[in-house]
């Protein structure tokens, strides 16, 4: 007992840990990656190789336009700022020389909108209302006079000075927005602001959560399905595909496992076919089954069913042959052996096979949704990924993961209920299932209490029974 307590308690060779410690470790196994994600996202000196622009500016004669939210390299950002400062210097110089440029109304209107990301960030403007000049215009005044102070993001002292300088010109012309009354000479541009950030493909947790909540609660753009409709459609494809795979694959698999005849007849071809990647059939499937969900479901089936036949035939063959012999000596005929011994005997293992195959089916779903007319969650991931909106992509990827994981844990828990003779389900899956089935159990509990109360009532009032 010379080992220190912590080693003795947690590190035991080939020995199971107590229930509580196991649950704690299960929680830690999830907390650990999340913590790493948070640390990388929020502790500035760990990584942060980019600058995320919080406030942008357009440059004269440069076609590349950065908008707030874009990422640039830390080497380029000072150049960007310097370019804008140089433009401001030129404007001021022209102004002092007495010959400012004229006809800059349109340019000035755009320039005023530079404040929009700051206004949105501070909650003064709606997310999709960046061109609302009527709100933006007085905001310049509010910031210049100090009635409002930007906090998230804050304005640099340099930019605050520019705001004041511009407002002097603007206030002289009009207190509210009117295009005709905008100054004719160019205003000063706000200098781009940015902060160190991780690459765009790794949004911070809060960004992903915020984007996820927005996507799942907001109404969909016209003509596009909402996230829940997408989710439902994805689930429908995977369930139908998997169900059809089971309908085809389970009987053939069992027959192959039981009868050498079927094994020799089907397995060589199946073994060959499964090496042809399912996605290679996508164009063919679309040509045969046309657009819509049919080719997608067919792709899930092609991806799943051939593996299923082989896995199930193997599982069937693994059934203890002495059970078949015992059944024979008890007088069972081949059909009875199949129905009374083989099928019930392989059920628990077959069930576990199906769980694993369902996991594979999710992989095929993602490919299936990209063929023909893109649809479902994958279409969203694909589109948003192209726009580099990875903060909107992450929640959807995680949703797919959570769906698969929770389904599998519930199925694992059901395994213990369905096949009590094949061992208990794991504590973790029981925990997950306990959380998921909580509402159902509450309803059942209520019903049981009501029945018990009724019984107690009829016991105390025996006459009621005769009615």
């Amino acid at each position: 007992m010379a080992r220190p307590g912590i080693l003795r308690d947690w590190f035991l060779i080939r020995r199971d840990l107590p229930h509580r410690r196991r649950l704690a470790l299960a929680a830690v196994s999830f907390l650990l990656p999340i913590t790493i994600w948070c640390v990388v996202s929020y502790v500035p000196w760990i990584w942060h190789p980019d600058v995320k622009i919080e406030l942008s500016a357009e440059r004269e004669g440069v076609t590349t336009v950065f908008t707030a939210g874009d990422h640039v390299s830390p080497e380029f950002f000072p150049e960007f700022q310097a370019a804008v400062r140089a433009e401001n210097k030129a404007v001021l110089a022209a102004r002092e020389a007495g010959n400012p440029e004229s006809g800059a109304k349109r340019k000035n209107q755009k320039l005023l909108r530079q404040l929009a990301p700051v206004a949105i960030g501070n909650g003064w403007l709606a997310y999709d209302d960046a061109q609302n000049d009527a709100v933006l215009y007085p905001l310049w005044g509010d910031l210049a006079t100090g009635r409002k102070t930007a906090a998230k993001p804050a304005l640099t002292a340099e930019n605050l000075q520019i705001v004041r300088a511009n407002w002097e010109l603007l206030a002289a012309a009009s207190p509210v927005f009117a295009f005709a009354k905008l100054p004719d000479e160019p205003l000063l541009k706000l200098i781009p602001q940015g902060r160190p950030a991780n690459p765009v493909y790794l949004p911070a947790p809060h960004e992903a959560i915020r984007a996820g909540i927005r996507d799942f609660t907001a109404a969909a753009p016209a003509g596009e399905p909402t996230m829940f409709e997408r989710y439902k459609r994805s689930l429908r494809i995977i369930l139908l595909g998997f169900l059809w795979s089971c309908v085809i694959g389970i009987p053939i698999g069992i027959l192959c496992g039981v009868f050498d005849f079927f094994s020799r007849l089907f397995e060589p071809f199946v073994d060959f076919f499964r090496y042809m990647p399912a996605p290679t059939f996508s164009t063919l499937l679309v040509a045969v089954l046309l657009a819509g969900d049919a080719p997608k479901i067919a792709l899930v089936i092609i991806g799943t069913v051939f593996q299923m036949i082989l896995v199930i035939s193997k599982t069937t063959r693994l059934l203890d042959p002495s059970l078949l012999e015992a059944a024979q000596t008890l007088g069972a005929k081949p059909r009875q052996i199949l129905g009374r011994v083989v099928i019930p005997g392989i059920m628990p293992n077959l069930y576990n096979d199906l769980r694993i195959l369902l996991g594979w089916a999710w992989t095929w779903l993602v490919i299936a949704e990209l063929i023909g007319v893109k649809s479902g969650l994958t279409e969203f991931i694909e589109t948003q990924g192209r726009f580099r909106n990875f903060d909107r992509v992450f929640p959807v990827i995680i949703l797919i993961g959570v769906t698969g994981f929770v389904t599998d844990q519930i199925l694992s828990w059901l395994h213990g209920l369905l096949f009590p003779w094949a061992g208990k389900s794991g504590a973790f899956s029981r925990g997950v299932a306990g959380v998921v089935t909580w509402p159902i159990r509450m309803v059942a509990e209520g019903a049981r209490e009501r029945i018990a109360a009724n019984e107690a009532y009829s016991r105390t009032n025996p006459r009621d029974k005769t009615r």
């Binding site: 059944a327 000596t329 008890l330 069972a332 005997g345």
Partner: protein
């Protein structure tokens, strides 16, 4: 065992035992095996597992089959149960030739082979149900058999909840519920610990006393064979051949105390001599002297 103890001839039978064997021989032949030969095809050419095995078992007899390992006991019983085919030879149950497995010949395996997804009761009901008996009938019958092996309390338990001895009792009840004409038992107690095995042997004799059943019992345990049997079929190894059929002179009913009877010991010694001939003993237990480095042990 001291050398001074004089054992009687194993063939010497008291008048009661002799009369019993006379009655036994008059009973109809339940199982007749004639010139049974089994040749396996192996990679190194054909291997004769059994050659010209002939014997008969009378109704309500309990016969043990014993022999050194590799004598083909298990092959023999598997052929008798119809789980394997013989290369040549004939097998008759009450005069009718049989082939393939059937409910007329029950079997208890060493590995229990209970259906793990069925409860004790459902396991015992299996035979009657596949024979087409109605559920209720099969159930009440199963209860009787479970009662006979003393497991009424466990009729709704699953096999994985039972001990080895209990599992084997269920397997016996399951085989008997089918009411076979001959019951084969292939080293049924081989996987049990010594104490449980003793108890199970007494159980088996109790059951056999109460049920009209002919039993062919495969074992490699000499004491078990002598304790249980009316007659013992002793097989030679390589190839498996009938060496002798020994009539056990120990009177019935048997009890554990009888293992010290001179008749018991004489029978045991005789069969032991057949299975381990004096010249061969060295060969079968090679002593690895070279591997021992401890001078005290050498």
């Amino acid at each position: 065992m001291s050398a001074t103890l004089e054992l009687p001839d194993y063939r010497a039978q008291t008048p009661e035992v002799a009369a019993r064997f006379a009655r036994l021989r008059e009973r109809p032949v339940a199982l007749e095996v004639r010139n049974l030969t089994k040749i396996f095809d192996s990679a190194r050419g054909p291997v004769t597992a059994l050659r010209d095995v002939s014997f008969s078992v009378h109704k309500r007899e309990l016969m043990c089959v014993i022999g050194p390992s590799g004598c083909g006991k298990s092959t023999l019983v598997r052929i008798l149960a119809g789980l394997e085919t013989s290369t040549s030879g004939e097998l008759r149950v009450y005069g009718e030739p049989v082939s393939g497995p059937g409910p007329d010949r029950g079997m208890v395996f060493q590995g229990y082979t209970l259906f793990p997804w069925l409860t004790v009761k459902q396991n015992v009901m299996f035979g009657p149900l596949v024979a087409g008996r109605p559920d209720l009938f099969a159930e009440s019958e199963a209860r009787e058999w479970i009662d006979l092996v003393g497991l009424s309390k466990f009729e709704n338990a699953y096999p994985h909840q039972l001990s080895g001895g209990m599992k084997q009792r269920v397997a016996i009840a399951r085989a008997l519920a089918n009411q076979p004409r001959v019951l084969f038992m292939d080293e049924p107690f081989g996987a049990l610990d010594a104490q449980t095995r003793c108890k199970m042997q007494s159980y088996l004799l109790d059951i056999w006393k109460n049920v009209d059943i002919t039993i062919v019992f495969i074992t490699h345990d000499l004491d078990e064979a002598v304790f249980l049997s009316d007659r013992i079929l002793v097989l030679d190894a390589n190839p498996g051949r009938v060496h002798e059929v020994v009539e056990v002179p120990v009177p019935r009913p048997r009890s554990e105390a009888q293992i010290f009877d001179p008749s018991f010991m004489a029978t045991r010694k005789h069969i032991d001599g057949i299975m381990h001939p004096p010249g061969q003993e060295q060969k079968e237990t090679p002593v690895m002297r070279l591997a021992v480095s401890d001078p005290d042990v050498v």
